[in-house]
């Protein structure tokens, strides 16, 4: 016990004496949490729209005004022909084109009003898709308002967004970002730790001491476990102070899950560290995995919309469960009992990764 205490004391001294590390550990995640939710926003604003109005009527003018007044679109140019308009798309001046056919106004009175044409640049798939969806919605709404015939009007559909009333992106991005930051910092730091001792040569000195392997690994794991809690607390505080987000569920359940998760993820980092010979190797390996974990976590793309094989792969992604749990607790107010599955799986990860870390650490080489 005395040995563990002093091993830990040494780890903390090393972390705190580093002039760079404490900043990386605490400042960078805080900054990222302030910036990322705004940047990782899927709401499209300021889509550049090009107008080709062949009708030049009151009605077409009203439609254009309505489109521009929503705030989603910004008028980039007005062209006389479709060919001219498409040139603006080609040169990236316009993202989307709205062509209003001649006779648009006069066709209103008929049973079959002429429909405007939408052409979107899909190089940025999200922008193109969202833009044309917004535009379609706006035009539909306008046509329905203006149509003299009651029958043409579609039945109104009322949508209620459960657990996130305003469908705010921040509400579901922020808890996920906290999970990601804890993983990135915890994973990268632990991956670099043991290998740094190898590079500096101190590992050789440690290996001739009678310190048992498990105790050594434990002394490496514990500091990151604690750092994980501090990061989580910073994250919870910022999301409350800046985004007004408080978990709908129990905060303690989040901490409990983080406790298990950090054991798993630090074990993952230490396993990488033990088999690497240089910090560069360890960093590269860790980042390869962390990027895959992040992209396949469901944070950016829902797991259910991935192809079947990718969905199977995410089963082996610990971050997926963390993002999931954070959202469930923050938005849905899930109880401990609702999360038993995620807890179980992350426990398996914790045991598995740490066994790997232990196997990878060899005091004597063959």
């Amino acid at each position: 016990m005395k040995t563990l205490k002093y091993l830990l004391e040494k780890e903390f001294k090393q972390i705190l004496r580093d002039s760079f590390m404490p900043k990386i550990i605490f400042l960078v995640p805080a900054l990222q949490l302030l910036i990322l939710p705004f940047a990782a926003n899927f709401e499209m604003r300021n889509i550049n729209i090009g107008i080709i109005d062949h009708d030049r009527s009151v009605v077409s003018q009203q439609l254009v005004n309505k489109v521009l007044s929503t705030g989603y679109f910004r008028l980039s140019n007005v062209s006389a022909t479709y060919q001219e308009g498409i040139r603006y798309v080609e040169s990236n001046v316009a993202d989307i084109l709205l062509e209003i056919p001649a006779g648009f106004e006069s066709s209103f009175a008929t049973a079959q009003p002429k429909e405007p044409l939408i052409a979107a640049n899909a190089v940025n798939g999200t922008k193109g898709g969202m833009g044309s969806a917004y535009l379609t919605g706006i035009i539909r709404e306008y046509l329905a308002e203006r149509s003299p015939q009651e029958a043409v009007r579609p039945a109104p559909i009322a949508a209620t967004y459960l657990f996130n009333d305003n469908l705010s992106y921040k509400n579901f991005m922020v808890p996920g970002i906290i999970a990601m930051l804890i993983s990135i910092i915890g994973g990268a730091l632990s991956a670099l730790n043991v290998v740094r001792e190898k590079e500096k040569g101190t590992m050789e000195q440690m290996n001739v001491t009678p310190v048992p392997k498990a105790l050594f690994i434990l002394s490496k794991l514990t500091p990151f476990w604690i750092i994980g809690f501090i990061l989580l607390s910073i994250g919870v505080l910022i999301s409350w102070a800046v985004y007004g987000l408080l978990p709908a569920g129990n905060l303690l359940v989040i901490y409990l899950f983080t406790a298990v998760y950090m054991i798993a993820f630090t074990g993952f980092g230490l396993a990488i560290s033990n088999v690497s010979n240089t910090q560069t190797q360890a960093m590269f390996t860790a980042f390869f995995f962390i990027i895959v974990f992040a992209l396949m976590s469901g944070q950016f793309t829902p797991v259910s919309s991935m192809p079947q094989w990718a969905q199977h792969v995410t089963v082996f992604n610990p971050l997926r469960y963390f993002v999931d749990v954070m959202r469930m607790i923050y938005l849905k107010g899930a109880h401990l009992s609702d999360l038993a599955g995620q807890f179980g799986i992350v426990c398996i990860f914790a045991v598995g990764f740490n066994i790997l870390a232990l196997i990878g650490y060899r005091k004597t080489e063959g």
Binding site: K13, G201, T202, Q205, V208, T209, P210, K363, T364
Partner: protein, 301 residues
């Protein structure tokens, strides 16, 4: 204390150790002497359980290095060739750390390190990374000693240390030996051999000779001369072409020449040859061999 029998170790294609046989007695200051790449570090790493030998048997303190790793680690002190203490911890923190991981305390074994520690004590709050080279070595020695090991392995402790500190360091080792600690030390400096009780001359993974420095010098059988002249480089080339010469090497400010025969006329013949070659100014003197002469001679065989 240390017994090696036919130790072999290879790293891929490179042969690091070939059939090493050694016996280090209790209370002995034993030197492994040889140039870089001779296999000194590999042998140390096997003896302190950091690597396993490919074949052969090694015992440290009666314990086998392949089966009793944990027991060996408790009873040996190891100081690697590269400074490998925690540079971001202070002098006293390093010392306390290594005492604690060996389940002891600085106070319990302070007597053993006091002579050495008092020299670095003024800097005890300083981080180990900020110490000078000699200070680092002293701290490393303290850390290797703090658990009162029965045998100490020091891998090139004097490499890169100034001449005064080197002498001091060997004095410290002498005092530790007098306390009954067995010490195995490696060095590339042949002149340090005389500070050891017994030495092993190593080259290319082989132990060329294992004996006391005196016996090794005494076993040097050929007549040895030191030569000085105005044109040293030309002299070296000419001497190597001299038919009576066995070997000739540049040794600092003189050339060391061994003759092929001990015959009485050999020296006179050499003198007249020198005159004929135009080295009338050459100073020729018969000398006693040093360890380096022995090493060169053994390496030729």
């Amino acid at each position: 204390m240390v017994i090696c029998r036919n130790i072999n170790k290879t790293y891929g294609e490179v042969v690091a150790l070939r059939d090493i046989n050694l016996h280090v007695r209790k209370g002995e200051l034993f030197g492994l002497i040889g140039p870089d790449g001779a296999g000194k570090t590999s042998l140390f790493r096997i003896l302190v359980t950091l690597i396993l030998p490919d074949s052969g048997q090694a015992r440290v303190n009666g314990l086998d290095v392949t089966t009793s790793l944990k027991e060996i680690r408790r009873s040996v002190g190891y100081m690697p060739g590269r400074f490998s203490l925690y540079q971001d911890l202070s002098v006293e923190e390093n010392l306390k750390f290594f005492a604690t991981v060996f389940n002891t305390s600085v106070e319990a074994n302070y007597e053993l390190i006091r002579d050495i520690y008092v020299q670095i004590e003024p800097f005890r709050k300083r981080r180990a990374g900020k110490l000078s080279g000699g200070m680092k070595q002293k701290l490393a020695l303290c850390c290797a000693l703090i658990h009162s090991p029965e045998i100490l392995f020091l891998d090139e402790p004097t490499t890169g240390v100034d001449p005064v500190s080197r002498v001091e360091f060997w004095d410290m080792l002498d005092r530790l030996r007098q306390r009954g600690i067995t010490i195995m030390v490696s060095t590339p400096y042949m002149d340090e051999a005389s500070r050891c009780n017994r030495i092993a001359l190593m080259r290319d993974g082989r132990a060329l000779s294992v004996d006391t420095p005196e016996n090794i010098r005494a076993s040097f059988s050929r007549p040895l001369y030191a030569l000085r002249s105005a044109g040293m480089y030309a002299l070296l080339n000419d001497l190597r072409g001299y038919e009576g010469a066995h070997s000739c090497y540049a040794f600092g400010d003189a050339h060391h020449l061994t003759l092929g025969s001990e015959a009485d006329g050999a020296e006179a013949e050499l003198r007249s040859w020198l005159d004929r070659k135009g080295y009338a100014d050459a100073q020729l003197s018969r000398i006693e061999p040093c360890i380096e002469d022995c090493f060169m001679e053994l390496a030729r065989q």
